[in-house]
Symmetry: D3
């Protein structure tokens, strides 16, 4: 059985890691759908899809679970979003989400949805990690070691700090 | 003479119905342009274009007036919006609107615009209907019977209630 | 029961009219999906979506059947095409098509498909009508009277003749 | 040596004029990139790209400097924004900007960036000019004479006043 | 009076130069609309919009005529093409074209169109210039000196030769 | 060192497998970029991006090489294609391609390119595999066993056979 878990993974942190570990016993394979894949270099979405693919792949490589990291670009058309996800992803039998819109869209399309009890923690942690990067505080303890390496390699914390001063492209 | 009336119709309610009835004596045919047609499953735009086409067609079918329900997708380019509308719609001689931007765009394109005195009530009612759906209060009295049937058939009030808890796609 | 019939309707002709009449006894309501809705002013797609909505609405108005004329813009992503159609259209129970790709896409999405035996004639007639318009021959006998009126009103045959000399925008 | 300066130029005002004059001695030619080119008829972006091209071309024509006014449409994908700019613009050796995001994007792409100390004044002035237009106060003193002429010719202040009452397309 | 001339200018050659010189006495200012602006690095469209802006600006700079070089991206929606052009360009009173589709679109929008008798030569010359570049023959005699310089600076003939071996992106 | 190899992988076949094996000794990690990711259900591009991700991941899983399968949607703007690829992919040091356009685009962007001598065989084999599927001949011998399983699971050969009869969406 194959599961699907959507997130923005900005960045992939310990909350995600724990969630994947809890889902692992329920599935044979797990697709990690990288939402808002077309966004990067903003306070809310600092990392490119390629950078997030690398974080996820490195972080979950030691788990005894076949995983796929699949970028999902925003379509801004909720009515076709499930089809879009299904075409970008290997076929999955169950979707994991606590987001009410995501749950509703999968349910209307007849896809089984299971809740991920940790989603609140997950949401908070993403924002907390980014805030700490901006303030140059200890964010490293909140993400897996493999992700720290990726972020350091791409000078990620500095990028976040720099773009957090902007509010718009151009002048 | 053919008229054009733009709205989001989320949903089509009694305020719209009254507006159409008042415009009816001035025109031979009336096009109802369904704005933000690509949006659905959000608090502000819960219903798909197809669902809104059905609401409108059912609600105005008893009027002695030839009507067309035409979805108009957002382009996010005001400068070509009038051409976009004109290509999607049967040719019209006069546009009805109180929205200052819409009025300006039609005027710059040389299209006659007439005001719809009830637009304020219309705007308020759309929001009121959606709020009542969310709170599970009596929204049915604010929309035509034919629209109640459509919304019930698609489980519309529950959809609105569910997505009103979300603020973003994914996690 | 509601049916769905896709076509480009460039223009709506007697073959379409016959097809609708044959489908009519099988359904309560029929949606006519106007494919390639964003295309116009070319040899293959001379008429705008608005013009085609008008042709269809006028031509089928005398049938004892509730119909909807719904523009369907090309997405160029086959994998989400069915969802796109379903969101633009009132809900339908069965799709009518003989196009192998359309049949496959609906089948993969679990939608019942019925064949329309006249599709070949339909395809040929659309091209025949346009060719006659270009050569200024008798095209009027191939389309319903209501459609002749619409095409005359928009100077349609001249448009087709003129654009048939072009091969590309600009120079 | 060719420089590149990005702005929205809504409208081109004295702050921009001064900035161009200060950059002039450092470069042989200067490209003025018109950001958010696809936006118009809003409070924040009242003027079309064509109108802004005309303002800029007229205003800088007396300078002893070859200039290019190049519209840059928003892509909403920061990761390809520099390539997009580079393809739309004549080749440039140095970019002028104080916007932290713009600076970061150019730096990651290996493009030399120089700061424009007046950018804060520039930002404030654009907003001030538009506010004065809305309140029908003296905005003319804040923009070059050539720009006043262009805005008057297109009835620009009235447009801004009118759209400032709107908050959304349609109703 | 301001005129508008659309072309792809791949590259700007002597035929274009002659056309501009013939139009010059009829207008005060001339906009050169660069069609298919989003295309580059193909046999038919080798040069980027920025490169074409530079060619045009250099080539016409000695004429006693105010000119604007304005990129026009393809929309693939003929019905809104004129609005798109009008928003990207300074306002113009007359459009110059011999392309039947372009003529038709402008006429339907109520814009005066004048023919450019040299359009056939222009079309042929663009293709001839590109063929000579591919075969490493004498293309320089067909384009203005200023354009030769631009093409040499960007290694343009080699680019064309190289991409002419491709038929598709990827493998 | 990380390499990047672009292909459409319709489907991933023995030629691709051999190519990956030959590249393996030169790199530490290899990104397989899935071109034309938005295309599916056509004769030339029968499989969705999700299906191709699964094929590739299964086929290369036994190699002693870290690989990434990354969908790359077509942009139809060659000038930003390299940036697009770089943002979607983990950072790479060298790109492998024999396609002259791809080589040119990477070279203009300053990316090292190495040729893949087998590209001709690869191109031919993709087309050969699809032709055999259509004719119901032995295609299985041309693709890795893991890919045969994926294609069987999704009823892929039948899909290809069915869509090969179509030439266009709708009628």
């Amino acid at each position: 059985m194959r599961g699907f878990l959507i997130g923005r993974f900005q960045p992939f942190h310990e909350g995600h890691q724990t969630m994947v570990e809890r889902i692992a016993p329920e599935v044979d394979e797990l697709v990690l759908g990288i939402g808002s894949a077309d966004q990067s270099h903003t306070m809310r979405n600092p990392f490119t899809p390629g950078e997030r693919i690398m974080m996820i792949t490195k972080a979950v490589s030691k788990l005894d679970l076949t995983t796929y990291a699949v970028p999902i670009e925003d379509l801004n058309r909720n009515a076709v979003w499930v089809s879009h996800v299904q075409s970008m992803s290997p076929h999955f039998d169950v979707a994991y989400s606590n987001n009410p819109l995501v749950v509703r869209l999968f349910e209307e399309a007849g896809v089984e949805v299971r809740s991920t009890p940790m989603i609140r923690r997950e949401e908070l942690e993403g924002s907390e990690v980014r805030d700490r990067m901006c303030r140059d505080e200890n964010w490293e303890s909140l993400v897996p070691d493999a992700v720290v390496e990726v972020i350091d390699e791409i000078d990620g914390a500095n990028r976040l700090r720099q773009v957090s001063d902007s509010d718009a492209n151009g002048a």
